[in-house]
Amino acid sequence: MRKDEMRDGGSGEKTYCVFGVGEREFLLAAEDVREVVDIARIFPIPGAPDYVYGALPLRGKIIPAVDLSKIYPIEKPSYASPKLLIIDVESENIGFLSETSPFFVTFDDDIVVDDLIDIKSFFETYRIKTMGYGKN
């Protein structure tokens, strides 16, 4: 699924990518989502906070995979066949683990969307700044 395929919505509308972790659903602005990949294997990063589930290589780049269940109060997800949403942010890529296959919805601009992740603010807040827990 590619970004240019996802984006629709005429003027006055905005498209979001919806993905699920545990019992909860999160939304991301569709333009932030570069692609969705199946996870073949994920590699732990010792020393990283627990919300960094690991990292995986994707076309020569290493993408950190974020487990939102460690940040938000969510019942422990099973991640039986997890997907990873690859996000473009601050000239970097990070990934969000999803238990479900993400889908896209379009709303009018004036609708306030709950559980929307502002990716820039997320990146800045949870970016690991020193050794130790990332939210510092």
């Binding site: 073949a40 294997r41 994920i42 590699f43 732990p44 990063i45 010792p46 020393g47 990283a48 906070p49 627990d50 960094v52 589930y53 690991g54 990292a55 995986l56 290589p57 076309r59 020569g60 780049k61 290493i62 993408i63 950190p64 039986a80 601050e90 000239s91 970097e92 890529n93 990070i94 990146f123 949870y126 970016r127 690991i128 700044k129 020193t130 050794m131 130790g132 827990y133 990332g134 510092n136």
Partner: protein
């Protein structure tokens, strides 16, 4: 300057000149119409100025002189804000053409044509006089006459140039200007020239194009992807080859069996044989071979098996050729990588030259005389390293001048030359570059360093430290020489920061010093950051790498029985060449302990020399040495300073690049103490016992994807052999297998004191209660039926703590 040096420099000059000539060519005609003339004049002035300087460096005196004249004219108009007439523009364009002509000659291996030099003297003087420019411009031309006379221009070339003014047809690429000539006697209508120039003039010399560094980085990324893909293909081909061999072996066995069967039944006629062809009824059994269906079938089977074996042989041959092709591809990719890597390399001399002026200025500020001696300028170094070395070198040179080199009187008293010497040298040592900054100053007194460290509470007063250990204190975070500058020549200030900057480019910093004689700082950096030679090592189930430039030696783990209690809790003592050195386990760095590390042994120590001090990193296994493309850590993770990068192995494993300097010197122990959950399951081992290759492969893929390490056996007997040498956390076994079936295996395992604790999952196609009960009765822990439901297997894996529950 040798001939080779000059020709190399000329290539750089040609690339540079091309840019400036094009700037001038586009800009000069614009002077008439530009709305922002001051900015344009400034741009043109800069281009002429830089062209002049560049030409002078490569001893192109005529070019330099012409560029200088253009610079003078442009500067005059820039400063005086007066109208630029068409004749001035024409003159500038003519001069530009002359320069372009000369530069083209140079690019074709000819010498400078001195005939151009005096062509514009009068016109320039006239323009300058009208505009009120500097008078010396005219004088300079007179002075240049002498220089022109001494150039090595062949006499014929001079005449040729004089007789044949530069015209577009003579230098079509250099100056396709539609009639603009250098001779002032044949003026060209400016408008024509302007119109033509705007569209047509583009200079191109030499073989250079400028490429954005990011483009090269992108190409590197693509090459690294090709390398990974290639390695993955190589691995898969190898695996496929192994499977083929297995099948070939099975095919041979089948052929033997079939042959034996065919031999037994080739002509056997049993009593109840029904003749296939009644035509043969008159022949007796021994008179004519008769074939019943069994005979025919066995023959057919024989033929088919032979066909299959033949096809498999061809397949094996194909894999052989395919592997050869991939190896050739491997070589090509390596060449490509190496060429691309070289394109990022720069002569370190360009970096060293940047210090010439500051050294003079700083020496003057400190009222000292310093001679900066530079060596090894042509040593090539990665551009990224080049850029990252400037600050640390500047800091060290500043310290050398400020605190290392003594004042003149003091030096004279000590019997030294009044003028201090700072030498800056670079040399290539294998894959590394060693840079030394040496001064012949006062040196560093270790007694005073020790005293300062004691005063700051960094060491106990009664600590016994070697000279090397004392010097390493200078690099400690928090070590300060404030108030003690004169004692240790101020070297401690900022040394930690400098070392940190160098460690960011996988470099090391050491110093050697002698009181009264001077100090040498030795920086060792890899020549390229893009491709780095690394040692691959394992700790638990994880693989890490460290650049070989940072590792002094790899030794066997030999702990020191230390009862003194002096050592730090986080550090072990191990022997290195008979001497105890401090060492650290990775588990102490980021808490891997208890997470897949049980049963593993500390086998090796990676000995690193960090700022004059040897330390060791204790690891389980050293897996080898290889060239790796190190990528920077994702910005989301950049705070994890113990990693200086990330690499991807040939088979797609993510390997973190450890930075030993951060591991050993950031003793603040702020590392994460709660192990991420995923780690606790990393590296659990599963033994699959099944006679079916497909089942083994399928299960292996399924389990490997869940970060489990998998061992495989074709029957119970093979499984027991594996278990003699390897500890596993779970066994998944089939029931029906040759040599030793599953029931016997379960029975033997549960009867063994050492193996009975290992959980056993029986995975069989037998679904009856009878089979199940027998397996569970013998001690199997779980019973799954093929084709198995992945969720059931996942549930069992969770039940036995093989994956997170």
């Amino acid at each position: 300057m040798g001939k080779t040096d000059r020709s190399e420099l000329l290539e750089y000059f040609l690339a540079e000149a091309e840019d400036y000539l094009n700037v001038l060519s586009r800009g000069i005609p614009e002077l008439e119409i530009s709305s922002d003339r001051p900015a344009l004049l400034e741009e043109l002035f800069r281009a002429a100025h830089t062209l002049k300087g560049a030409a002078a460096i490569v001893r192109l005196t005529v070019t330099s002189s012409l560029a200088h004249s253009m610079e003078d004219i442009l500067e005059t108009f820039k400063d005086k804000h007066i109208v630029i007439k068409k004749d001035v523009i024409d003159l500038l364009l003519s001069m530009l053409d002359a320069v372009a002509h000369i530069v083209r000659d140079i690019s074709e291996g000819k010498e400078e044509n001195g005939a151009f030099e005096m062509k514009f003297t009068e016109q320039v003087a006239e323009v300058m006089a009208q505009a009120g420019g500097p008078v010396d411009a005219f004088d300079r031309f007179n002075l240049m006459e002498e220089a022109a006379a001494s150039t090595l221009t062949p006499p014929g070339a001079v005449n040729e140039a004089i007789e044949q003014p530069v015209a577009p047809q003579e230098a079509p690429e250099a100056a396709p200007m539609g009639g603009a000539k250098v001779s002032p006697d044949v003026p060209v209508k400016a408008q024509e020239a302007v119109a033509k120039r705007k569209d047509d003039v583009e200079y191109f010399f030499g073989n250079f194009v400028r490429i954005d560094l990011k483009k090269i980085e992108d190409m590197f990324n693509l090459i690294s992807e090709v390398t990974i893909m290639k390695n993955a293909m190589l691995k898969k081909t190898k695996e496929a080859g192994e499977v083929s061999e297995e099948v070939l072996f099975a095919g041979k066995r089948l052929l033997e069996e079939v042959n034996a069967f065919a031999d037994r039944h080739a002509y056997t006629i049993t009593d109840n044989t029904k003749y296939i062809d009644p035509l043969f009824s008159e022949f007796g059994d021994l008179e004519f071979d008769r074939y019943d269906e069994q005979n025919l079938f066995s023959r057919k089977l024989q033929e088919l098996t032979e066909d299959i074996t033949e096809a498999l042989k061809e397949l094996m041959q194909f894999f052989g050729f395919f592997q050869d092709d991939i190896k050739s591809l491997d070589k090509i990719v390596k060449f490509l990588r190496s060429d691309l890597s070289e394109s990022r390399m720069i002569d370190i001399g360009r970096l060293f030259q940047r210090f010439v002026r500051p050294v003079k200025d700083m020496a003057r500020e400190h009222d000292k005389r310093v001679d900066l001696q530079i060596a090894g300028q042509s040593t090539k170094i990665d551009r990224v390293i080049f850029e990252n070395l400037f600050d640390p070198l500047m800091h060290m040179i500043r310290n050398c001048i400020g605190h290392g080199i003594e004042k003149g009187e003091q030096r004279t008293k000590s019997g030294k030359r009044r003028e201090g010497i700072i030498s800056l040298s670079a040399r290539r040592e294998g894959i590394n570059i060693t840079i030394e900054i040496t001064d012949d100053g006062a040196g560093i007194d270790t007694n005073k360093v020790f005293a300062a460290a004691v005063k700051q509470g960094l060491v106990k007063p009664d600590a016994t430290l070697s000279r090397e250990e004392i010097l390493s204190l200078i690099f400690l975070p928090g070590f300060s020489t404030a108030g003690a500058t004169d004692m240790i020549s101020g070297r401690g200030v900022g040394m930690n920061a400098i070392r940190s900057q160098i460690s960011n480019i996988n470099g090391t910093l050491e110093l050697s010093t002698e009181v009264g004689k001077g100090t040498t700082f030795r920086i060792r950096v890899p020549s390229s950051l893009a491709i780095t030679n690394v040692i691959v090592f394992a700790y638990g189930a994880m693989e890490f790498v460290m650049p070989t430039s940072l590792i002094e030696e790899v030794v066997q783990y030999e702990p020191v029985d230390d009862k003194s209690g002096d050592r730090k809790e986080s550090l072990d003592l191990v022997y290195h060449r008979g001497t105890p050195i401090q060492a650290k386990r990775l588990s102490d760095v980021f808490y891997i302990a208890g997470n897949g590390h049980e049963g593993k042994r500390d086998n090796f120590v990676l000995v690193c020399s960090i700022s004059n001090k040897r330390v060791g990193l204790i690891v389980d296994d050293v897996l080898g040495q290889e060239e790796a493309i190190i990528k920077p850590v994702n910005r989301f993770l950049e705070g994890l300073s113990i990693y200086s990068g990330i690499t991807i192995s040939g088979d797609g494993l993510v390997r973190l690049v450890l930075n030993p300097i951060k591991i050993f010197e950031e003793e603040t122990r702020t590392f994460l103490v709660t192990p991420p959950e995923i780690e606790s399951f990393e590296g659990r081992r599963v033994l699959i016992v099944d006679d079916s290759l497909s089942v083994r492969k399928y299960l292996s893929t399924f389990l490997t994807a869940r970060n489990l390490k998998v061992y495989s056996a074709g029957n119970g007997n093979e499984a027991l052999k594996i278990l003699e040498e390897t500890e596993v956390d779970l066994i998944i076994t089939d029931l029906e297998m040759p040599v030793m079936h599953g029931y016997e295996l379960v029975s033997r395992l549960k009867g063994s004191d050492t193996l009975k604790a290992i959980p056993i999952i029986v995975l069989t196609s037998r679904s009856t209660g009878k089979h199940r009960e027998k397996a569970l009765e013998l001690g199997a822990d779980d019973y799954l039926v093929k084709p198995f439901d992945e969720r059931s297997l996942v549930a069992s894996l969770k039940k036995y703590s093989l994956i997170p529950g």
